[in-house]
């Protein structure tokens, strides 16, 4: 508790007045000679104790009344020395939760609209000479102004123009910024308003830190939490989790099947959800489907197709309608559409007479699963070369390189050519640039030599160093364990039927051993004896896949198991081809990184809401443009004077679905428990509360009311004392 006019507490000294009057009143009297003294004495004898009691009560009431008056005039308030009462200027700081959940419409208005209205009400009721600072907050804090804290009109404009974004909630940065703003304020009466839907994520993501900041704030300002959600109406929400293209590599000339995963994150079923998909914003080619109902927590895959006409990075956009929260109703994804996918297979033992003796045969058939007559028109083009033909230049034209049963160098196996040094060195840059490398095992692989050339002692490309091959008992061949597949990984489909059974059915007689100590990659799939079978290592922008088994039938019959081997190769190819666009799809709030060719040009970021944000020239080596101004979901482009909008690199920003995974909000008691104290709770839907809150915090009115009743009580008591007995 504090006093807004503490010097008026000195008025409490007035309590001495009735005391003085009480003790010195006897000096002021009139003398009266009296005959009936006997009766008077008897009357005094009968009433003196009562009279004394009455007088003390009266004295106490009068002293209390004076103390109460002084107390009321000193304007006591609830908390802290920073609180303002009615009429005193206030340094107000408004922190607006602008996260995605604030776009939810849980009534006639959205939460953000309610926050805006409430803030304008607060603004209109600020005392004269007050200042205002506005901070936008989602997972980051953005001071929004006004430039001059006393410019209320500008503040009003800022509030009116507030928009929600696609970020998730975290109030901690906003509170840090608010405390920093408090430091800059010169006044003593400070109020921090937090306009939020009180989304659990916002408070619990950094609960301890938030508690600390709120404690700090409590010492210096009044913390007012303005609830902007409608607690009586739950939010119905379905959001697009992902857009998948399960059937391989997007390429031109086809209608590509997409699977749009729609998830209900609310607590109520959502009916008649219209799901649509389009490419590059071509509304006329949009395909849509209506889902009758999606239950709470249910994820519903909607299969749609989209026509891919032009090669290159394309924006696939899926939208849904029919719920209350629009923030996650649109998802943009950049997909690399290819006209042709070129693959280089370096085979250590190519056999043109009996192709089945070489691994390249099985890989080729798996990667081009069409009849021979259609192979020329198929979008996957494969070049098979021997190790000695493997020119580094060949790598420049391909997306993925397979090294099948090839010695690490020509010296490894007499008579069998190995990888040339230039080719090996080029492999390093190849993978780094985002391309894929698949290494298959076989008799030509000498583990020690591989370690020296491609492993930890050489280029360090391998997921793990290799050890001697392990040979199985002919009666008990090794079995692949699809259940051991790493989840999540691009191979997780192998844990499901039919891939699971057919894969587990394969027999392997021999595999290359893997040294698990100091392993730098991940094991994607193991054998039944836990021996690593498929390993992966991300290297630069690209990835290296190592298969411990052979890709021909010499070490087992897995390559002949079309249901497993073909799928494995297709998934691996699709996975590795997608590597090149991985940085183009980011989640809201994440950084967009681009390596421009021209380091001198000045670049700008075109946002989904058609704003242009200057980025400046590229910096660093290699020249890099990095921006985290990805607060809105949608397509972004980085443009310069030399690069026009159409040809500029495009990036897709997805909404941060962490925000909508759980839409639960914190109730006031929960907030109180989290903060460790009770802040001022307000409801944005109750403007009267906003108007009168400041007056409520000052006790003057209540004290004056109490004083009134005390005075009435004193009068009644005085009357009663004079009347009866």
């Amino acid at each position: 508790m504090t006093f807004l006019s503490p010097w008026l507490l000195l008025g409490g000294l007035a309590v001495s007045v009735p005391l003085v009057l009480h003790f010195f009143y006897r000096a002021r009297h009139r003398k009266l000679p009296w005959a009936a003294m006997t009766f008077l004495k008897q009357a005094i004898e009968q009433t003196s104790r009562r009279l004394r009691f009455q007088e003390w009560i009266l004295l106490a009431l009068r002293c209390l009344a004076l103390l109460l008056l002084a107390f009321a005039l000193s304007r006591p308030a609830i908390t802290g020395s920073t609180i303002g009462g009615r009429g005193d200027s206030v340094d107000a700081i408004m922190v607006f939760d602008t996260s995605m959940s604030m776009s939810a419409r849980d009534g006639e208005k959205s939460r953000l609209e309610r926050a805006r209205d409430a803030a304008l009400t607060v603004l209109d009721n600020l005392p004269n000479n007050s200042t205002i600072q506005i901070i936008g907050c989602s997972d980051r804090a953005i001071p929004l102004g006004p430039v001059s804290p006393r410019n209320i009109d500008q503040a009003r404009q800022i509030i009116t123009n507030l928009e929600s974004n696609s970020l998730s909630s975290d109030l901690h940065p906003g509170l840090i910024e608010a405390i920093s703003t408090l430091d800059r304020g010169a006044g003593t009466n400070k109020e921090v308003y937090v306009f939020s839907d009180m989304h659990k994520l916002a408070w619990e993501r950094q609960s301890q830190a938030i508690r600390g900041k709120c404690e700090e704030m409590k010492q210096r300002a009044t913390l007012l939490l303005v609830r902007c959600g409608n607690s009586e109406r739950p939010v119905r929400n379905v959001g697009i989790s992902s857009i998948n293209y399960p059937d391989g590599i997007p390429h031109t000339g086809t209608r590509m099947p997409f699977s749009v995963l729609v998830r209900n994150t609310g607590n109520e079923p959502v009916r008649n959800v219209a799901v649509a998909i389009e490419v590059d914003g071509k509304i006329q080619e949009r395909e849509s489907e209506t889902v009758p109902e999606i239950g709470p927590g249910q994820t519903y895959p909607v299969n749609l197709t989209a026509k891919l006409d032009v090669a290159g990075p394309r924006v696939v956009t899926s939208t849904i309608t029919g719920d209350d929260l629009p923030g996650d109703n649109r998802l943009d994804r950049i997909i690399p559409v290819r006209e042709i996918v070129r693959i280089l297979i370096v085979d250590g033992t190519p056999d043109t007479r009996d192709p089945k003796e070489s691994g390249s045969h099985f890989v080729r058939n798996a990667l081009i699963p069409v009849s021979e007559s259609d192979q020329d028109s198929y979008f996957v083009r494969i070049t098979v070369v021997s190790a000695e033909e493997a020119d580094p230049a060949l790598l420049g034209a391909c997306e993925v390189c397979y090294i099948v049963n090839t010695p690490a160098s020509s010296a490894d196996r007499p008579g069998i050519p190995g990888l040339s040094r230039p080719f090996v060195e080029r492999l390093l840059a190849f993978v780094k640039s985002g391309k894929g490398l698949v290494i298959g095992s076989g008799e030509n692989i000498i583990p020690a030599r591989y370690n020296q050339v491609l492993g930890s002692q050489g280029l360090d490309l391998l997921p793990a160093d290799l050890v001697q091959a392990i040979i199985a008992d002919p009666q008990q061949p090794f079995k692949i364990a699809p259940d051991s597949t790493l989840t999540p990984s691009y191979l997780e489909r192998f844990t499901n039927e039919p891939y699971r059974t057919v894969t587990a059915d394969a027999d392997l007689q021999k595999v290359v051993g893997v040294k698990t100590e100091g392993m730098k990659g991940r094991v994607l799939m193991r054998l039944a004896n836990q021996q690593p079978f498929v390993l992966s290592r991300t290297f630069g922008e690209g990835e290296v896949i190592f298969i411990a088994g052979s890709l021909d039938e010499k070490w087992g019959n897995w390559p002949a198991k079309a249901g497993s081997f073909l799928s494995f190769q297709q998934l691996t190819l699709a996975h590795l081809c997608g590597k090149t666009i991985r940085g183009w799809n980011v989640t809201a709030g994440e950084a967009i990184v681009w390596y421009p060719g021209d380091a001198e040009a000045k670049y700008s970021l075109l946002t989904p809401d058609d704003r242009t944000l200057p980025l400046g020239p590229a910096g660093g080596e290699p020249p890099t443009i990095t921006t985290t101004e990805t607060v809105l979901a949608g397509p972004y482009r980085i443009v310069s004077e030399q690069v026009d909008r159409e040809t500029a690199p495009i990036f897709a920003v997805a909404p941060d679905l962490a925000e909508t995974n759980d839409l639960a909000t914190m109730r006031n008691p929960e907030l109180e428990q989290l903060l460790g104290f009770k802040p001022v709770f307000l409801d944005a839907g109750a403007p009267e509360g906003l108007k009168t809150e400041r007056a409520k915090r000052e006790w003057t009115v209540w004290l004056l009311l109490a004083l009134f009743f005390l005075a009435v009580g004193e009068s009644i008591w005085a009357w009663y004392c004079g009347k009866a007995w």
Partner: protein, 295 residues
């Protein structure tokens, strides 16, 4: 010189009403009032058997002629009375300002009564007391005696506290003939002692009248503020706020008045309360009318 205590307007009304004795009085002269003695006057009362020693002049010869028995004819004697005016001259009678001063009021009453009593050829005496007898005037029915009474009253200055009861006991022995004893006092004394004295007087056959002189303040206690009460008959002083004591004071006073009034009533003593804010002319007139009506 006519005393200031004799107000023509009071006397005019009182004189017309007069003050007759309501009981038998023993006088020395023939007068208007009934005497306990049987004599030879106008009013026949009874016959009685002649006994030796009776004056033979009183034998009713007509009765002898009819009954041949000697009988004596008796008549009621009418005589004058002596009114004993007893004034309380204690300090407590000093309360009140101007005409409402209790002693002044009592003086006016006594002067007026002495005038009308003498005027109807009855005798009047005056006694003044406080804790002892301060002044005593002999009985006389001369008009000049009224002046003496008035001068005595005018000269009266209270000097001591009250002691009514014992003094009345003394008075019983000093007044031998039955008459009217009128006591003018505020009676702020021990009630039982006072009543005892009054009853004793009554027992001796006197008509006893207690004129209870009170000030309105003493009866209603309408005082306010912070007041230091100074005892008129002592040294006590009390600083208090009378409005807070008023209910208790009135309760006690009422009890006292009831006790006094009831005591007088049961003892055949006439109790007459006189409030000093009621003019003497009115109060005396009303009293005399009441007395006349009662016979």
């Amino acid at each position: 010189m006519i005393s200031t205590l004799l107000k023509p307007d009071i006397l005019a009304r009182a004189e017309a009403l007069g003050m007759a004795a309501r009981q038998l009085v023993e006088g020395l002269r023939v007068g208007d009032h009934k005497s306990p003695f049987r004599g030879f006057s106008v009013e026949f009362v009874q016959h009685r058997e002649y006994v030796p020693g009776d004056d033979i002049r009183h034998i009713d010869w007509k009765s002898y002629g009819r009954s041949e028995r000697y009988t004596i004819k008796q008549y009621e004697q009418e005589t004058n009375y002596t009114a004993h005016l007893i004034a309380d001259g204690s300090n407590s009678m000093r309360y009140g300002e101007g005409d409402q001063n209790k002693l002044e009021y009592a003086k006016l009453l006594m002067a007026s009564l002495s005038y009308i009593i003498v005027k109807q050829r009855d005798a009047v005496t005056l006694r003044v007391f406080d804790s002892a007898w301060r002044a005593e005037l002999p009985a006389s029915s001369q008009m000049g005696h009224v002046n003496t009474i008035c001068k005595t009253l005018e000269a009266l200055q209270p000097a001591d506290k009250t002691g009514t009861g014992p003094l009345l006991e003394q008075l019983v022995e000093r007044i031998t003939r039955r008459g009217i004893i009128a006591i003018f006092s505020d009676a702020f004394d021990d009630v039982s002692s006072l009543l005892k004295g009054l009853r004793h007087l009554r027992f001796r056959g006197h008509e006893v009248i207690l004129f209870h002189i009170l000030h309105r303040d003493e009866v209603e206690f309408p005082l306010d503020g912070n007041v230091r009460f100074i005892d008129l008959e002592g040294v006590d002083e009390l600083l208090t706020r009378p409005h807070l004591l008023r209910p208790a004071y009135l309760r006690i006073l009422q009890s006292y008045l009831q006790e006094l009034e009831k005591g007088c009533d049961s003892g055949g003593i006439e109790y007459v309360r006189m409030m000093t804010d009621v003019p003497v002319r009115q109060a005396l007139g009303e009293y005399l009318v009441r007395r006349l009506q009662r016979g």
